[in-house]
Symmetry: D4
Subunit: 177 residues, 8 copies
């Protein structure tokens, strides 16, 4: 079995519902990865030990998703010099994710967290892919192809919209009243 | 020399300007304390080691002041079961301290941080005093006396305001134009 | 019947749905407590009288949960020198609890409220336990055990996630689509 | 000496710099008033006693200015059924007054605070005047005259702007570079 | 038929769902009132004409509820010197009512709006009652009675909570799981 | 077939549910328009090419709706000197549209975006109509008629409210409980 | 003297310091304009009368700048069907202009305000120019030239930066320490 | 001369004051880089052309700093599949950088921007270093050394604080009153 290149860390197993999208994108691009539930607050020793050993186990990029006072990404960034991507998560008791966003992005000089959008699990994976692609020409090409495909998909949707009109298009996507 | 009962932790030595007020209040009440510069991000191992050993060294309450993505108090609360008081600090590059407030207060269940106002170093000390006073009758009495004194000080100010009028009072405090 | 050591105050009986979690945590740790509906705005005299008599009735920590312009914790902190823990509550007509958070945490010097997360009833209890444990070695040990258990629970979940994979784990928790 | 009809309460004597504008407007309209430094947090008993006795001493409207977790107006509104006007004050350690605004305005049903703008001491006075004018025809006329004067003042400024042009007008008010 | 003493203005008929609570409180206290749909933006002339004639028709207090860029209360306050109470309303496309709150409360000097909580229709009515009670001793007594009743209601709820316990009380209010 | 005078651009086809209201208003006023799905991020070249050719194809006003880091309107405003109207859209993962609002409105000098309310698709169309009406007297008259109709509709609603009372009116609109 | 094509309205003469930039841009492009101090709150009748007569006096675009509960642009948009551009202004007592932004942009359907950035007086003028250029080919060309000039200016700055280096460039603009 | 590995893009030359810190960190680590003034709004074609050619010219990481409706990083991320780091900048007319933060971080799926703190130019460089170090063992070692040095620097400061005390330390750093 191939060594994981990306580690996806969750502050709580309830974050899996959102964060699994990161694993799905990585799988789509054939990038080996692993997912761990590790909390900066409830399992600080294990979290630190895991992050410190990550590089030696082949991990190149760490993705950390957490909500509320979201310390997981920052804690990881303090324990390794690998690039760490932070995904702020909205939570029922939080402020639509604004709390997690600020707790993730406002890091002090020397300990950066590459923060993506609130709930942006997929973009965390795309960012990891961009980083890995710097040393992997084939992955770089697949990313370029993905970029073109996003454009083509949108062009196809626009084409169908011109053909069907607003009413017809909305019906076809099940959004018409 | 007496064992410190309160530990005041600063994420950066630049936080001393605000956080020293906590030390001053503790000194005023004769409570032994120590102040350390320890960052959750720049010195995570030392921070953890310090917090873990705190109880054995006699510390009863940990006060942690930090700005921006303020993880220090939360990191401390994860490493000890002593009560941890968090002081969110406003910083030049921050959002008036709103970032530090949310990063300090929005902790997950099981790992509480007793958060005080933005820049509220003095209240962190008063909260520590209230906690220590549960096991120290003399301190409890001194706190009650302080509470009465706050009231009396305000009453004295009000008395002077009635006597001098707005104009006179403002001049006496140097705030008149 | 044992004297209550923790008083849980609610600004409204509708806050019981969230605040009962504080009572449940205290019960789990065998700490006697009482719950009262007392409003800083609708029953100010009774609220003050209750808080003032709390210490003599054996109460060591006051927990106050309130929403919107949440004054209950601050009012309690003004009437006693016991430690007061404030739980800001989100409410239908409020701003996701941001109003209650600011009204609870931004206290003036000398009158601290130990504020926990929005809706953080359980953490209010855990904070009270940390405070009580300073004078109760057995409780301190139980808190340490709880801290280890949180870590072990998370480790067990992580183990199951490694075993079942994302898809399997999500199904096992009923979150898979 | 005439009985005061309006009571202006300050949570701290440092609020006098902003709140004195309320007294100035009342003086301009010849409405007797008094100013007191009374804190909901540092002198809760005196604050309650004062507010409860206000009606009997002739007070018709209570104006309360406070910053941060601003409880003064709400506390007053809980202790009397007189109309209470709240002035949220910005403070150095606060969030531009947003904290005080929410802590003042978000009152629960049955205990209203008539909140004016952040730092809006003058409008607190104008609101008190509008309320008093309901029972004082002469004051009502003076308020109408003031309303016309605001319009005329602005018209005069506009006239001067047309005459002098932007450059000339800015110089005349000392704002040109 | 008695002349209305309070005018309740709605920026849109969809605001009736929230604002009718103001009418219900006034009816409960026997205060004659009228409700009108009048928009500062869609019917500016009629809105101005109505507000200008309000005093002569016996109106003493104007209550205006509006959402989003909520100009209705401010427009009313500019057109009359009667006290104007503003109710900021949350709306689907708005920011939880923060937009309406700021658009209502941040009025310039000379044109105050007495702002109550977001969605605070009932408090708008209670504020109007406090104002009217200054010239109506019977109403003042009824308000005092209401204040006592709020206290007694809460005391009764607290009593029932002591008797039934959390579980029993929650079941009795239908909130237990 | 008539040349489109207004171009409605969507950052994603999921925005059609909100943005179609803009097309409906334009259709109501008989203004030819076209709708395209074009993303500043996923199809930047096509987006630029479309906007650059818009003027030559007869387009006079560009309406762009986008959510989150909403760059579409700004990108359009950079690529043409036609007036560009921006509609910030709320999205599930966004901050109630506050993110889209700030990303749309806070444009640097020289590249303005005429921003309307969050989700304000209809107002984007009305703004386009106001602009087009400057060179189209008939359209100007229809806009004036629409303005009068808004007033009359509201007056009719108010009339019905006076006739039916709150209870009756609420029932007639299906909002009564 | 030529009829003004753009009307610049200020809620207060103190807004001239920011809003004069709009007049300067219009003057630069040779577009006749006029500036008036007119408040929605302090001179509502004159404001309405002015806006209603604007079209007949040749005005094609109305620019309105106001701070705090900024109602001026919305009031103008309610009184005319000309396009109205709103400039939210930050003010000392306001929330960095967030209050004015929300009060300006969150308009209800049918009454749009084309909102530009906080303090965006220059962009209000550029937006007016884009609108006027739809019926003025020469102005359209001048706007295109301005667009190219912005690009060239930036290219020249970039060239100088490449030549001088960061240190040298910073010194040349007086920003080096 | 060595090919630049990192491109630092500024939306305006006034951003150089903050963004030069990124260049300084890169220079400290001996990483060749270039700095360009390129605006997504004022020079969109040149910005796109530059970003598209970046990879071929040897650039591995793009850093983009911009304020207000900050589109530069997002525009770059749409034009290349290289990792793009965004630095939200606070600006005089902005909301303390909250606008730039949201406009930078809230990117749609497929087009990630690695966002750092408001004004976090140094962290943008450290993040670029972490990314480059994945393919450069020597750089990785230097980053590890830097991580240790941060810890040692803090330990040294803490040592001096223990030696000098708060008063002495504050004097030594020039922060004592």
């Amino acid at each position: 079995m191939e060594q994981p290149k990306v580690a996806i860390l969750l502050g709580s197993d309830s974050d899996l519902a959102v964060m699994r999208a990161a694993a799905e994108v990585l799988a789509e691009f054939g990038v080996p990865h692993e997912v761990h539930v590790l909390s900066a607050h409830r399992s600080p020793e294990r979290a630190l030990a895991y992050v410190r050993s990550a590089r030696d186990r082949g991990v190149r990029v760490v993705i950390a998703g957490a909500g509320m006072a979201a310390h997981l990404a920052g804690t990881a960034a303090a324990a390794t010099t690998l690039p760490v991507v932070g995904v702020p998560l909205a939570s029922a008791a939080g402020l639509c994710g604004l709390d997690a966003l600020l707790a993730t992005v406002q890091m002090p000089p020397g300990v950066p967290v590459a923060t993506v959008a609130i709930g942006g699990a997929r973009n965390a994976a795309y960012l990891a892919l961009r980083i890995l692609a710097l040393g992997d020409g084939e992955l770089a090409e697949r990313l370029e192809a993905h970029r073109r495909r996003m454009d083509e998909d949108l062009a196809a949707k626009d084409g169908r919209l011109q053909q069907l009109g607003i009413e017809g298009y909305s019906k076809s996507t099940g959004e018409a009243p």
